[in-house]
């Protein structure tokens, strides 16, 4: 059975290659910083499961120290010129799209079909992690296809990958860091404190006030925690169930469904949801790290208002 650990091995190997190529890149004045940073990330992927929690924590602190002290530069691997790219695009035509579309196609195939295949009673891939494992398989398949199609020099794929990961830079580990912050918040009881604050600060004597407190509270708490899943239990136990459902007789399914979607409006507006909002800004070479959030805020606010009205008009009616 292919397990998640195999995909981590693959990612660890890739980041180890990035670390080695970074160290050899004399065009980058901070090459040792980059090399150490990606090397530590490789270590986390390769050996994280065998290290103690404390050792993993120290590894993370070392990565933070490198990035926080400005130790990361931009690798400048040799790549093709604009003219070469245009000539290649004309020569290969729409075949160039094939490898790019192979990634989602294989991911989907894996998550839907491979997941169910058993050989001698053993699953081919770990069904619990099917999507992540299939994404790894998709990357491998697409890599093989582009190698056949483009016939690049041997190290080109790794150098090009390094070019991209260097533009992402520190943002690459931010999603994991925020998940770790969420875990510390949970241990220290931050959720309960925020929930208590919200449910005591607002007058709860009218239906509209209660609905507003719940939807806006979900959005705000989601912005703080970075995802709606962390906010939902706290806000629903604090406001949703006791007030909307029990006191005013609202429908629990409508409350919960629209409540969660109000949380998603918060996700669109927060840097804490780094993999959706901060990593893409880095991937797209945007100088403003909050550019994606700024593009999303108007939609999020209008939709939050719309959700509040939807809930107010629907939840007490069914």
């Amino acid at each position: 059975m292919i397990k998640l650990e195999a995909v981590y091995g693959l990612a660890g190997g890739l980041f180890a290659v990035f670390a080695i190529l970074s160290a050899m890149d004399r065009a980058n004045p901070k090459r040792w910083g980059n090399s150490l940073f990606w090397g530590l990330f490789a270590t986390s992927f390769l050996f994280g499961s065998r290290l103690s929690d404390l050792a993993n924590g120290i590894l993370v602190l070392a990565m933070v120290a490198i990035a926080g002290l400005g130790g990361l530069g931009l690798g400048r691997p040799v790549t093709t010129s604009a003219d070469e790219r245009a000539a290649n695009a004309r020569r290969l035509g729409n075949k160039l799209f094939l490898p790019a579309l192979t990634i989602p196609a294989v991911t989907l195939f894996g998550a839907l079909v491979l997941k169910t295949i058993r050989i001698g009673g053993v699953f081919l891939i770990d069904p619990k992690q099917a999507t992540v494992i299939s994404l790894g398989l998709g990357a491998l398949a697409a890599g093989a296809l582009s190698a056949v199609l483009l016939r690049p020099p041997p190290l080109a794929a790794f150098q090009e990958g390094r070019r991209l990961i260097d533009t992402v830079g520190w943002a690459a580990v931010l999603p994991q860091m925020l998940a770790a912050l969420g875990a510390v918040f949970a241990l220290a009881g931050v959720g309960g404190a925020v929930g208590g604050l919200v449910s005591h600060a607002i007058p709860m004597d009218s239906r509209l006030a209660v609905v507003c407190a719940y939807t806006f509270g979900m959005a705000l708490f989601t912005m703080i925690m970075g995802n709606g899943f962390a906010a939902f239990p706290v806000m629903t136990a604090g406001i949703g169930l006791p007030l909307i459902v029990k006191k005013f007789g609202g429908d629990p399914a409508i409350m919960a469904s629209i409540g969660m979607l109000s949380g998603f409006c918060g996700t669109l507006m927060t840097p804490m949801a780094a993999n959706f909002n901060i990593v893409p800004a880095a991937l797209l070479d945007l100088p403003d790290r909050y550019a994606v959030i700024k593009a999303q805020v108007p939609t999020a606010l209008i939709l939050l208002l719309a959700n509040t009205l939807l809930m107010y008009f629907l939840v007490f009616r069914f």
């Binding site: 986390s44 992927f45 989907l108 697409a142 690049p152 943002a171 399914a253 979607l261 840097p271 797209l284």
Partner: protein
């Protein structure tokens, strides 16, 4: 209440644009210590959660392929393709992507999109090319705006589509939570009540994408006018 200082550190640190990794680490340590944990315990909890969430970063495995394809002219090919479609505009292209992303996510096919896999190599460059073939060369400011909207369309489509799919994580979380509190709901009920919000999300964001085209036309037009006036010596 003291534990909320961590939240404050995050808000202030992000607004002041300090390095987010530093902000998050300081917030975690402060929160943990104020919450009565030992320094060692905080670092261990931090390391454990970082380790448990490595799956988020598996997506970077696609970067070598994306880089290789960019090296081979993928972005240029996307531009040529879009330039050949006269009706293509940035707004319409992103609207189409939003619709496809939302529909496929509603059917549980969330892996059909994604920022690293789809937006960076295909959607963002094509949306930029659509504006360029209609309006001529774009200033950086507008290129960045179009790219940010490409990322936004992916997020809005995914968030407000996936919640309709009955086996999606949030629906299972809601069902489990209500069950613990003695309320039985069927996943189908939850997904049905996600549909009104999904339709509104499409209407709202779709309108904004439609307006994006007009804004691009207006800003480029204003620039051309200003240029003409300078040339005319006004």
């Amino acid at each position: 209440m003291l534990t909320l200082i961590g939240v404050l550190i995050v808000v202030v640190g992000f607004l002041a644009r300090f390095n987010p990794l530093l902000v998050v680490t300081v917030a975690a340590i402060a929160t943990g210590l104020l919450g009565g944990l030992s320094p060692e315990h905080v670092v261990a909890a931090f390391g454990r959660a970082f380790n448990d969430n490595r799956y988020v970063s598996v997506v970077f495995l696609v970067l070598p392929v994306i880089g290789l394809l960019e090296r081979g002219g993928l972005l240029e090919r996307g531009r040529m393709l879009i330039a050949g479609i006269g009706a293509a505009t940035s707004g319409r292209l992103l609207l189409l992507y939003l619709a496809l992303r939302q529909l496929s996510a509603a059917l549980g096919l969330t892996s059909l999109g994604g920022q690293a896999q789809m937006v960076r190599p295909l959607i963002a460059p094509m949306a930029e090319a659509a504006a360029e073939s209609r309006l001529g060369p774009l200033p950086d400011k507008l290129k960045f705006l179009i790219r940010a909207h490409a990322a936004g369309a992916d997020n809005v489509g995914a968030f407000f589509g996936e919640d309709i799919f009955i086996a999606f994580g949030s629906i299972l979380l809601i069902k489990g939570f209500l069950q613990q509190n003695g309320i039985e709901v069927q996943p189908l009920q939850l997904s049905v009540w996600a549909i009104p919000t999904a339709l509104l999300a499409f209407a709202i964001h779709g309108t904004r994408l439609f307006l994006l085209d007009r804004r691009l036309t207006r800003e480029i037009g204003a620039k051309v006018d200003a240029g003409a006036k300078i040339e005319a010596g006004e």
